[in-house]
Every structure is written in C-alpha cells, then in structure tokens.
Symmetry: C2
C-alpha cells in the first residue's frame, strides 16, 4: 500500500487553516481593489528561458525545472515579477498604462526546508507599472499600511530607504550594512573590517539625507494617513539589487520573525522583454508570516467558521422537516449543514458539530414537530431553547 504523504516543504490546508487563508486573501483583495488594482493570473509553468537567469545563481538552483512531454524546457513559477514583465511585453498593445495589478498565486522554490522555509508558498504582489511619479511610490506604501490596518494590526512601522544612497558602495558592504538593525553597529563594523571594507562607509550611509524624491514620497504618504507609522532609515538596503529608488519594509512590533512586507521602485526590470525602460513600483506580503503574526496576535475573527448551523435528523420520520428547515435557514443567508444520515444517533450528530466547531445545532423530534417548533442548541454554552424555525435566524444573529 502506498504511504499517504506530502512532499517535504509542501502543505495541505485543511478547512480550518484554509478558511483563515481565505480570510486574509479576501481582505488583501478588498484593499487592493479599493485603490483600483485589478487581478492578474499567469500560468504555473513557463518556458524555462523566460525565468532562467532572472534570479541570480541561487534562483536558477532553486527553480523547479524539467522537460515536458513535448521536450520543451519548462519551469515552475518562481516569483510573480518576471511573469509580470512577460505579460507587459506580450500584451503591450492592449494593456492600458499604468497597469495596476495584484497577483496572489503560489510560487515554487526548492528551498532548504530545515530553515523553516516552504517549497510551495503563496505570494501576494501588487505593482504599479508604467508610472514613475513619487505619488505612485507613496500610494504603494499607503496600500501596504491599509492592508495591515484592515487585517487588524496596530503597531507596525514602515521603514523607508533609498537605494540610490548605495550607488558606488560595494555590494559586499551593502549586504553587511543591511543587517544593522538585526545585528547592531559593533558587529557591522567588525564584518566590514573582516571583509577588508572601509568601516567609514557605515557612518556615511547612516548620516545620509533622503533625496528630494524620497522626501516627496514621504510627504505624500504622511498626508495619506501613515504619518505615525513611516520613518526614513538610510541603512535599509533590501537584498534584491534590482531596486532603483525608494525601498521599504514593514515590521510588526509584536512579531519578531522579521518584516511582513517589503517592496520598492524598480525601473529597469519590467522592460526586460522589450527594448523599453518601464518604471514600476510595488510590494509583496510574506503571506506565511502574515498568517503567523495574525495567529500570534489573535487577529482572526471569532466567526470565521463557515458553517453556522448543523440541522440534525432525529429519525427517518422527521427527515423531511429537517431538510425543509435547512432550506429555510439557507434562504435567510445562514450557512447550514444537514447531518444526512438518519440512522446516526443524536449523540454522534452533536459530537460532529463539536468537532467541526459548528456553533448551533437544530433538533426536530416528535416533541418539536407536534408544536411546530425546533430546538436550537448553542454548542458553546450548551443552552437550548425551543422556538419556531422562523425565529432561528434572529436568535443566531442576536447571540
């Protein structure tokens, strides 16, 4: 017999978890759409040549690549930015510019799972393509903040940096300085020395002032309601060297695992499949981190439970009554499951409601039927009342 198992780094999401994921996805979509961003979907598989060489040596190594049945070299989606660049090139005559899109799809990376990384994970990207104004940068920052607000986060800080400040500074030094917040000044200086780099670079970066563009961006962002969250940090570098201007990261104070969101302006990437330079600015949420932070801070709504009522079947005789009552409750907008095995003991049916976390149970037996009533049991308080089925929706909503 074949062992039922998933691949390392791949996950099943059972209903309880899947519901939470849907809640976060729907919240993000709502915020993105309120700013006029629209959905884009791209295929899981691309020609290998579209993706290869776009993510450095590390990317090429971690990419899932293979030959398909038609001997084409293909690769699984590794991020959503390169596919976006392909889309912008492929449909350049029909896509209105600016192209403001969000994209929420899985990506696949053969990561080392011992570091707590997954090999299949959801990316939530939002980007404005074809607009280079500081207001676009500011809008992107504000959307990230609004999304966190909407999810219920309160204490977060938006660190804004300026990739331009690092012009002329060796890559090796940038990588070390980027760690300042994490490892502290002493260690940064030690590492710079160790690598034979001039330790004065750190002070030079630390004392840098934001460019006029960054000041404009910060000003607009503050006007748009994030004044108490946003601050300038010249030492923020972000790993990816494709950024060309404003960069930012958001950290949630009570959540120490790292930033939950990051992005910036990258004006030289989206044009990679055309001969044009196409400005772009965007950000991505770390979906798994958001989920973890929501869980830790207890931010998931109590009523995420999809099914609100389980209608039991007392016996064959009362089955029709139960089915009718369930139909009525659904018409009233109440998600209602029926326990469709008339031979199951009532105890078993109640236990099932408990296991699934269904908050209410309806019972219709001979007593209830004779009075044309139903018994409504609150599974949390274990209280039960006998009322008409018409009164059930009201009672549930009032509780």
């Amino acid at each position: 017999m074949i062992k039922p198992q998933t691949l390392k780094g791949f996950r099943d999401f059972l209903p309880k978890e899947a519901r939470k994921r849907q809640f976060v996805i729907n919240t993000l979509k709502k915020v993105f759409e309120s700013y006029g961003f629209e959905p884009l979907e791209t295929p899981a598989l691309e020609y290998e040549e579209i993706l290869l060489g776009k993510y450095g040596d590390e990317g090429d190594k971690l990419m899932y690549r293979f030959e398909d049945n038609g001997k084409r070299k293909v690769a699984l989606r590794y991020d959503q930015t390169v596919p976006l660049a392909r889309v912008v090139a492929q449909y350049q005559n029909e896509l209105p510019m600016p192209f403001k899109r969000y994209q929420i799809q899985n990506v696949w990376r053969a990561e080392n799972t011992q570091k707590g990384r997954y090999r299949e994970f959801l990316q939530c990207d939002i980007d404005t393509v074809g607009q280079g104004s500081p207001a676009s940068d500011a809008e992107i920052i504000v959307i990230a903040a609004k999304a966190l607000d909407e999810l219920g986060f309160k204490n977060y800080k938006i660190r804004v940096g300026d990739r331009k400040l690092f012009e002329g500074i060796p890559e090796a030094a940038i990588i070390i300085i980027d760690k300042l917040k994490k490892i502290g000044e002493e260690k940064v200086i030690a590492e710079l020395k160790e690598k034979g780099l001039d330790e004065k670079i750190l002070n030079k970066v630390k004392s840098s002032k934001p460019s006029a563009d960054i000041e404009l961006i910060l000003g607009i962002a503050q006007d748009l309601g994030v004044a108490d969250k946003v601050y300038f940090d010249p030492t923020l570098a972000r790993g990816l060297n494709y950024y060309t201007g404003m960069i930012f990261e958001i950290e949630i104070e009570e959540y120490s695992a790292g930033s939950v969101c990051g992005g910036g302006r990258y004006d030289n990437l989206i044009g990679m499949f055309t001969n044009k330079q196409i400005p772009a600015v965007g950000f991505a949420f770390g979906f798994d981190r958001i989920m973890e932070a929501m869980e830790e801070l207890n931010l998931f709504p109590k009523n995420l439970q999809i099914t609100q009522v389980l209608v039991t079947i007392f016996s064959q005789e009362f089955k029709e009554k139960s089915l009718e009552t369930a139909s009525f409750l659904r018409e009233k907008g109440i998600n209602t499951e029926v326990y469709l095995d008339e031979n199951a003991k009532m105890e078993k049916q109640l236990k099932y409601a408990d296991q699934k976390g269904i908050p209410y149970v309806v019972i219709i037996g001979p007593d209830e039927d004779s009075k044309n009533m139903v018994t409504l049991k609150n599974m949390k308080t274990r209280e039960q009342i006998t009322i008409t089925s018409k009164d059930v929706p009201k009672k549930i909503k009032a509780d």
Copy 2:
C-alpha cells in the same frame, strides 16, 4: 532578446477575464458554503506514486512528471479526487466524518491542444466523503443546481443515471451506449454491431427502471426544489468507471458544447490509501465551459468592473485635493483609482478611464476647487455634473 510567450495550452488571465473568473469562483464558493462545505487546498506537486496508475494509461501519459532536485519522482496535480483520497487517509484521525469539502485549484494535463483543450485548467470539485445515504446523493445534485441558479442559468436539465444498471455489461458496450444522446440510436446500434456486441443491450438498458436507491435520491432531490429539472436516463453511463451508483450530468439548453457539470457516487475510490471502504459522492464543474456558457448567454453582471471611479489630477496644484477626494470615496466603499501622474493631459487621463472601462471620472480643477465642488463625469453617457464630493457616492449608487 527572449520572446515573451506562454506555453501551448497555458493561459494568462488579464484583469477583464480574471474578474469574471473570480465572480464565478466566489458564486460557487458561496453556494457550497451555504450547505456547510468547507475549503481544502492540496499541493501542486505530489509524490509520483500517489498519482500514477490512478487515471488509467491515458492519465499516466498526460501527467506532468519529473524528477525534482532531490531526485524524488514527482507529478503535478492531475485531478482533485486522488489528492482528496490521500488527505482522507493522511489525516484520518483528525478529520471529522462526513468530510464535506470543496476544492477549487488548477490541474495540469498534457492534453492535445488541437481539440481545444487546455493544459492548465481550474477544477471546481465538491464531495461528501464518509456518508452513504441517498440524501447525500440528492444534496449533491441540488447543490449543483443551486450553483447554476445562482450564476443565472435558467434552462438546464439534470440527467440522472444509475451506474449499477451496467453491471455485467461489457465496458465496450457501455462506452457506445453512453453516446446515445449525442449520436442517436441508429449509430449506437451500428457501432455495437461493428464491435461484435449484442445490439439488444441497448433496449435492455433503455427500458431499465431506477433502483430503489435512485428513486429515493430522485424523490429527495425533487422535494428540495429541482423537480422541474431532474429526470432519469438509464442510458447515461459517464466515462469514468470508478462510479458505483448514482451518476448525473447537467446540460444547459442554450449551450451546445456539452455538459457543464457531472458527478456521482464512487464508494471504492477514497479508501485507496487505507484499508477501508469509504463512501463518497460529489461532482465537478467544467469551469471553462461554465465561463463560455456565461459569456454566450450574457450572464456576467454589468457591474463586474472593479474600479468605479478614476480621480484625475488636474495639475500639481490640485493633486492634494484629488488625493483627499479619492480617500473619501474609498471610505464610502467606492473602489477608486487616482491617475497619479500630475503631468498627464486630462485627455490622456480620460482615455485611460475609457480603456479600462472605469464608469466614472472625477475632475477637480480651478473652477471646481473655488466652489469646493468636483465634476463627476459618466463615461458611458459622457454627461457631467458639478456636485460636492459628499454627493458623489449617492449619485453613483443612484445611476
């Protein structure tokens, strides 16, 4: 330069199409959830041995299989039923039974694209696992109908068959009889003869009466509101030979490309990774067919457009006013985009709204600003009025 292109059989969904897909997905989810079904997600990649041999020789041939970087033999999701069987086995101690789940994810099959088939397509499955009562079968049929109702389809018929009627009939004959509706009686008889099969089988099947179970199922389904849609057809066989009882297909009268939905009871499949027999009944929507039928019958809502208002920027001077107005509209629940390039001519901004199909444009220039008003332009009628920004939400909702 690398040519920006997608693989044969793979599709990008640009916003206009992606919005329609989301509408259908959300409608289906809503209906599924109203019956107490909950979401499940499984990985895109599985161990090859989990999937191999489960879909016949054809399936093994069309499956995307490869060796991953760790030399594991893996395969891309081919359907959602085998992964469901794996999940039921893998989490058997924590999953409450019955397990009522829906699953809406992509599957990958290296189909012949000349037949108009795709290699990546969305499957929408819903199944009740662990319940063998006729009421479960009836519920599944009713949910399929309710989903079509909710999408706006009116004229459809639910053909219900009984796989048990085919016991003892050679597989080759079943395949031919299944085509009766499509090719007619004469051709079926001819084909039976050609294959050296007894042509009397056809009349035997045609005159079969439904079993007691099927009668019960039909009765309950009729009671639950599909009496005018459902009929028994003993010649329905459905291709897949894993069905064990009730089978059904739904055809939309005005849509001739084939059935949009099909399913049935399959009591011997879900237990494949355990040593238990686990009853199951479910169905799947042909998502691409549903999309096509919705399009042909013009069933997509007119207001599917996500962005309702484009706020233009008249010039640098009035940018802040425009940004403020946009924030106000968003607070009122109106999805609002700002054209964030203050140097763009008004004509260009209006053209952009037209290209994107945004129904309203707000303009705030010196005239409007001096009166503390805004101009609201209806892009369809080209009418424009000057009102206070406070009145914009009312006006839009009234139109």
